[in-house]
Amino acid sequence: MNKYRIKAFGITKDLLGGRETFIEIEGHTVGHLRAALNERYPQLLGLRSLFIAVNNDYADENIQLNDADEIALIPPVSGG
């Protein structure tokens, strides 16, 4: 199992129950992480679009994660 630190923005703060949370998953790519998050927090899947950044860089699904990485979940917001 690999443990990662997740920083939540916007509506994901409510869905994950706080600004920062830790998650343990089997895999080690952004794709694995996304799947695990969707399983644990089914409402995330409902967002349909969620931008994930690793160490402040936009991250594709195949990006490898390391233990010390900081992962950010950035959902769309529309207010003006």
Partner: protein
């Protein structure tokens, strides 16, 4: 924009003196501002500071697109307007305010709804677009129209205590094109999931901060001064006073300008962002029908899924079960008669109904279309809006 031949009067030179004396800015950048045409879409929370600062800075031509009218609930954050503007067209009220702030610029009022039909026509006369709209369909529309017309889109968006800023579709001096909104968010979230300012609220000073940053990037795009926020995405969290800048990149699968573009013209954005494709329909009732039910004494249960503080402001005498705890209190919901569920405008109550149907198999739930606000508009205007 050709700025070489731009001239300034003595009064203008005095007015823009604090710009002109900055070494990195100078008269040349001021000329570029005067030559520039900027279209500001939405003159609300973000549009207010954007318009005020662009007008003050001396942007020569500013277009305003807004078809809304000023409402009392706008004044908490939309600093363009005053009490005397309530009920007036926003675009027109904005023009008057901006023209009194700076009589040396042209203000062009577009008191129309921004739609797929007029978007290209409206944008094409301008050099830069600032998106200060308040809903997903319009955000995708602004993005797509800017990509199709090759215009930079200075984007900002807010939610409660958080703001986002980026410059999309910007071509730098080397000719390299930056990312756009669809590189980040290929598909919109379903309606109702991400609350708007009207549903989720917003701290009034936040659009002031974020809209000022948006104005800053418009000025940088026009003048070429500094490093433009293209390929980067800024987030400000007012609660923790924390800000982050994320690095973006273009996505080869972008349907607009990726490797295999599939969108070659503007589409129907309401449909694109609509609930139809992902969620099944739920039963609905209009405020008029609800009123009829009450008048003829129909037996039904009325449930309000808003928060207690909203209930305290105004309510229809319904049983209060906030959305967050609706599953916990499912036993309070009657299965033997019709149940009408309402919230402020109909978004949260739709979520509550889907949740209750999915988890507990209810079949007797009706969503009050337009919520308590619809009720106030059509049945009882004496009640308080918030």
């Amino acid at each position: 924009m050709n700025h070489e031949n731009i001239q300034f009067s003595k009064e203008e030179l005095a007015r823009y003196n604090r710009h002109i004396i900055i070494k990195e800015f100078g008269l040349d950048a001021q000329k570029k501002l005067k030559a520039a045409k900027v279209l500001v879409i939405g003159s609300g929370g973000l549009g207010s500071p954007v318009l005020l600062y662009l007008a003050a800075a001396g942007v020569g031509t500013i277009g305003i697109v807004d078809f809304d009218v000023v409402d009392d609930s706008n004044l908490q954050r939309q600093v363009l307007f005053g009490v005397h503007d309530v009920g007036k067209s926003k675009a027109e009220a904005a023009r008057q305010r901006l023209q009194s702030l700076n009589p040396f610029i042209n203000i062009e009022v577009h008191n129309v709804q921004f739609t797929s039909k007029n978007a290209l026509e409206l944008i094409k006369k301008y050099d830069v677009v600032a998106d200060g709209t308040d809903n997903f369909p319009t955000r995708y529309l602004v993005n797509d129209a800017c990509v199709l017309l090759n215009k930079p889109n200075v984007y900002a968006s807010i939610f409660q205590f958080e703001g986002q800023v980026s410059v999309f579709n910007y071509r730098n001096s080397k000719g390299e094109l930056g990312p756009n909104y669809r590189d980040l968010y290929a598909t919109p979230p379903p309606p109702g999931l991400v609350p708007s300012c009207a549903e989720g609220g917003v701290l009034g000073v936040l659009p002031g901060i974020i809209g000022s940053l948006q104005a800053l990037e418009v000025i940088k795009v026009i003048t070429g001064v500094g490093e433009i926020l293209s390929g980067r995405f800024y987030i400000f969290d007012a609660l923790n006073f924390e800000s982050r800048t994320f690095n973006l990149k273009r996505n080869p699968n972008n349907p607009l300008n990726g490797v295999n573009p599939t969108i070659k013209e503007l589409i129907d954005y309401e449909e694109f962002c609509s609930v139809k494709t992902v969620e099944r329909a739920i039963k609905e009732i209009s405020v008029k029908e609800l009123y009829d039910w009450q008048v003829r004494g129909e037996d039904f249960q009325l449930i309000d899924v808003r928060e207690p503080h909203e209930y305290d402001i105004v309510n229809l005498g319904a049983e209060l079960i906030p959305l967050g705890v609706v599953s916990k209190h499912a036993e309070k919901i009657d299965r033997t008669k019709k149940v009408v569920i309402h919230c402020k405008t109909g978004g949260r109550s739709a979520k509550a109904i889907r949740e209750l149907e999915d988890k507990f198999g209810f079949t007797n739930l009706y969503n009050l279309k337009a919520g308590i606000f619809g009720w106030i508009d059509e049945v009882d205007p004496e009640l308080t809006k918030y």
